[in-house]
Amino acid sequence: MTLDRIRIGFLPLVDAALPILARERGFAAAHGLEIELVRDLSWATVRDRLLYGHTDAAHMIAPLAIATALGRGRPAVEIDVPFALGLNGNAITFSIPLAAETLEDGQLGEPRAVGERLRQVALARAQARRPLRFGVVHRYSSHNYMLRYWLAAVGIRPDLDVEIVTISPPFAADALAAGEVDGICVGEPWNSVAVDRGVGRIALVTAQIWRRGVEKVLAMRRETASASPDLVDRLVRALHDAAAHFVEPDAAEENARILAQPAYLAAPEETILRAITDRVRLSQGATPLHIPDFMFQFREVANFPWRSQAAWLYSQMTRWDGTPFSSEEAARAEGVFRPDLYRRALAGSGAILPGASSKLEGAIGDPLGAGSVQGRLVLGADRFFDGRAFDPDDAEAYLASLP
């Protein structure tokens, strides 16, 4: 059988695992695909290669897919997201001096308690005109929105009380060491790299801010996705198989070995293994702590592109870009996420398919049965740390209620 070739752009991050494993573990070939992976070092280049046809699909931070479709900062290009590549997996790491002032030894902080101590430091530093500075990977990243959501909710005003700048993850540990930033919110392996170098301590993981926060997605140009529906279907099936395999405990060691290779992450195998098994080393030399849900994959249809997740990201985009909320834009942003394509691709397989395309985000405390058109769906706790819930049909009221 000849395989259809599909090129996928990615950044060397642990959450690029699914397309890499789909290729290396044979899931792509089983669906008649040969995945060619194109490695880059900036989201700008991953995006440009997608838009100019160097790649057919891309591993992408979810807000950037939406920003590209809305034409923020550049001409709009229609984007489809048929599959989410996973939830959370990021952390907030403080420099050693800031950690000494705000973190307790040896344990993961609680968002409110750490936030309160950080607030005191941040306000004092702002008053002394030496504001704290945090680095995030991109303006349109979940890292930026999670960090800002947390800061604002504990009484620290982003851009006013603290500075938030973009840093390139490979330089993040250096920036912490040099005191150019006081904290970073980045994905793995970059927090662990800073910890293992002894230049930072992990303060929180983003799963503590939003238990089920959407992270990377598979983005395609709508033009490409519409022109070859069969290719999209097979790719979604291959990625879904890879996700099911990813959560098999026995597979973790071999997966870490594959991801560590120079062509993919070019990072220490042991660091990657920790991340994909939800074990996080908070400070240099410490015993890794097991943090359930640190990097959430496959279970509870984690890969389903809920339109309500896109709606939440759009709400944060207007909040921090300082642009007015527009229901027309909101509809276009939600339309980037394509639960219909996910269902089409996985119909008739063993996959669980939710009946709804949108849900209340952050409203579940105890596991809850949910309607499905295929399989039995149970959704677990998905709370935001401050207890607020997001109703995509009432985004304006939600935005008005935020600090």
């Binding site: 900036s42 989201w43 700008a44 280049t45 290669r49 490979p170």
Partner: protein, 193 residues
């Protein structure tokens, strides 16, 4: 017109600078890509920024442009107002260009075209260099394999080469590959030539 060049390859940066100077554009600033990028750009205050696609600092640069849009002198990405073919050619060549808003297209096009040509020339140069290096390595491997055959089989050099060549033809492999195999097996057999 001041042009800033940010490139992870200092050789390529030099090649582009040279091309721009030849075209009479000599107000150039080379920016060190790893350290305090934004401060360097602010100090240089360029009207055009050229950066290679593989540069990890592109997101930092775009963030700076996004912020500067709100300020007095906004910089926009070139694609925003250029024709798509030029941008596609630039992306294909591996370069991305940003310009100050309002700079005329006639002034920009020659710069981007030149950058594209120089980037392409650099890629060809690298490919040639790579080939030359491989050829050298092949030569060395073949010489070593010949020495092994001459000693083991007590034959002269032309005979050793003929043996390598005929085996390569029979097995449909390159002579250098056969040579590599001989060296590897000799090493495994404890023959340390």
């Amino acid at each position: 017109m001041r042009i800033a060049i940010i490139d992870t390859s200092t050789t390529r940066a030099a090649i582009i600078s040279e091309g721009l100077r030849e075209a009479g554009l000599d107000d150039l600033v080379l920016i060190d890509n790893s350290h305090a990028l934004v401060a360097q750009i602010e100090a240089a205050n360029p009207e055009v920024v050229l950066i290679n696609l593989e540069n990890p600092s592109r997101d930092v640069l775009e963030e700076y442009f996004a912020v500067s849009r709100a300020l007095a002198k906004p910089i926009a990405m070139f694609v925003d107002q250029s024709n798509p073919e030029t941008t596609a050619a630039a992306i294909d060549a591996g370069v991305s260009a940003y310009i100050i808003d309002g700079l005329s297209k006639q002034r920009i096009m020659p710069i981007v075209d030149l950058a594209v040509r120089r980037f392409n020339a650099f890629s060809r140069l690298q490919a040639e260099l790579h080939e030359a290096r491989n050829a050298l390595a092949d030569r060395a491997a073949i010489d070593k394999a010949k020495a092994i055959l001459m000693r083991r089989r007590a034959i002269d050099e032309p005979a050793a080469y003929a043996l390598l060549r005929s085996h390569a033809m029979q097995s449909n492999r390159r002579i250098a590959e056969v040579a590599e195999a001989i060296i590897t097996s000799a090493a495994l057999m404890g023959d340390d030539t």
